[in-house]
């Protein structure tokens, strides 16, 4: 009996397992199919990084909005019609500067402000990112293509409570004067996680 014997030969596949749960939920009148359809609609239409991009673009062009956003993120994104689930009681927005790079992670699971910046990418939830970003921040950012000069200081935010975080990137010099709509197009999910600069 090898160590790995806990994984049985006749284990149901992940598809069989979720099929079973879906069927049992349906049998109990818990409207599983409806919830799945609604979820698929929500992630395609509502929980999209374009939300966060709009927030960033507005903060770049409206100094008063930016002040409100940094003071109370949840209330400020509400001005743009964006909402968060009830258990995300607070949205904290951290602003990058020419000498500061903020980056977010969750070492214990993989929490994110998904209704604002979109659901997290696969790598964000991987054990590699969770284990290494807090301890080897500069090294990992470099591996991800963000080779920061020593003059840029790094702050890592390990978001282990239900407060959610997003990063406000530095506006690129050449985009000064662009419209909000044009600016929103250049804002990426990676930049709002803090693993890329624009």
């Amino acid at each position: 009996m090898p160590d790995s014997s806990n994984i049985q030969q006749n284990t149901a596949s992940v598809e069989q397992r979720i099929d079973a749960i879906e069927a049992m939920f349906e049998a109990r009148g818990m409207k599983a199919r409806e919830a799945i359809d609604e979820f698929e609609h929500t992630i395609e239409e509502k929980w999209i990084p374009e939300n966060g991009a709009r927030v960033v673009a507005k903060a770049w062009t409206d100094p008063e909005f930016k002040k409100r956003l940094l003071a109370n993120g949840r209330a400020a994104v509400g001005e743009l019609g964006l909402t968060m689930p009830p258990h995300h009681r607070h949205l904290v927005v951290k602003e990058n500067s020419p000498t500061l790079q903020n980056v977010i992670c969750c070492t214990l699971c993989s929490c994110t402000a998904f209704s604002i910046i979109g659901l997290p990418p696969d790598w964000y939830k991987d054990l590699e990112y969770r284990s290494r970003i807090v301890r080897q921040s500069r090294t990992v950012l470099k591996e991800l293509g963000l080779d920061l000069p020593e003059s840029i200081y790094i702050r890592v935010w390990d978001t282990t409570a239900d407060t959610r975080y997003m990063i406000l990137p530095v506006q690129p010099e050449h985009t000064k004067g662009w419209s909000e709509e044009e600016l929103a197009k250049i804002v990426t999910k990676d930049a709002m996680i803090g693993v890329a600069r624009l």
Partner: protein, 204 residues
């Protein structure tokens, strides 16, 4: 608990598989897992702390070998069995095979009675304690000192909330640590900020 899920600072992992076009989901079943555990939370079958702790309770080899959504699925299945929504036997009959579940839950704890309020600028230390149930202080902060730089609104105390114990809301303090103090001589220079519940902290 000092489980394998407590990943921060653990060594031996390779490069992050990053691409600018990275996806959230890779298989259709993953979306169904996400949808149905969200549904279960909305229906009040379990809360997010119970959900997270049920992932942590996975057999450690299973935790590490499973994908993110298999972990979600295992938590959903485990909690539905534990809460009496269906039995393990019914689940395995429907699934036509064995379904690995998380290991049994142990005791939790209530908010710490001796907890104190802190203010921005206070120097604090994460208590040197080992909580066998659910706990949201990463292991790498244990016994380490930092500075309170912000205070965020109160949440239910997860150590209680994950165990069906009455959980009073308490603030989380945004505590700033130096990476070099967390991992002397073996970390990149940076500040690491952690949202720490009041019960986990003492004055440094």
């Amino acid at each position: 608990m000092d489980g394998v899920h407590d990943m921060g600072g653990r060594q031996g992992f390779g490069r992050v598989r990053h691409s600018p076009k990275a996806q959230t989901f890779h298989e259709p079943w993953e979306k169904r897992v996400n949808a149905l555990y969200s549904l279960a939370v909305r229906l009040g079958i379990f809360n997010m702390d119970e959900y997270r702790h049920a992932i942590e309770r996975m057999e450690p080899r299973h935790y590490l070998s499973a994908s993110y959504y298999e972990r979600s699925l295992t938590s959903l299945a485990t909690l539905c069995v534990e809460k009496g929504i269906f039995t393990r036997e019914e689940l395995e009959r429907y699934a036509q095979g064995q379904v690995p579940l998380s290991l049994p839950i142990g005791p939790g704890r209530a908010n710490v009675a001796t907890r104190q309020k802190f203010k921005i600028g206070d120097r604090v230390r994460v208590r040197n304690e080992h909580v066998s149930g659910h706990v949201r202080a990463p292991g790498y902060t244990r016994g380490k000192a930092g500075v309170v730089v912000d205070i965020t609104p109160a949440y239910p105390f997860p150590d209680a909330h994950a165990h069906g114990i009455h959980a009073e809301d308490e603030p989380t303090y945004d505590v700033r640590f130096n990476a070099e103090e967390l991992w002397p001589n073996s970390a990149d220079k940076a500040h690491v900020h952690v949202g720490v519940f009041e019960s986990y902290l003492e004055r440094a």
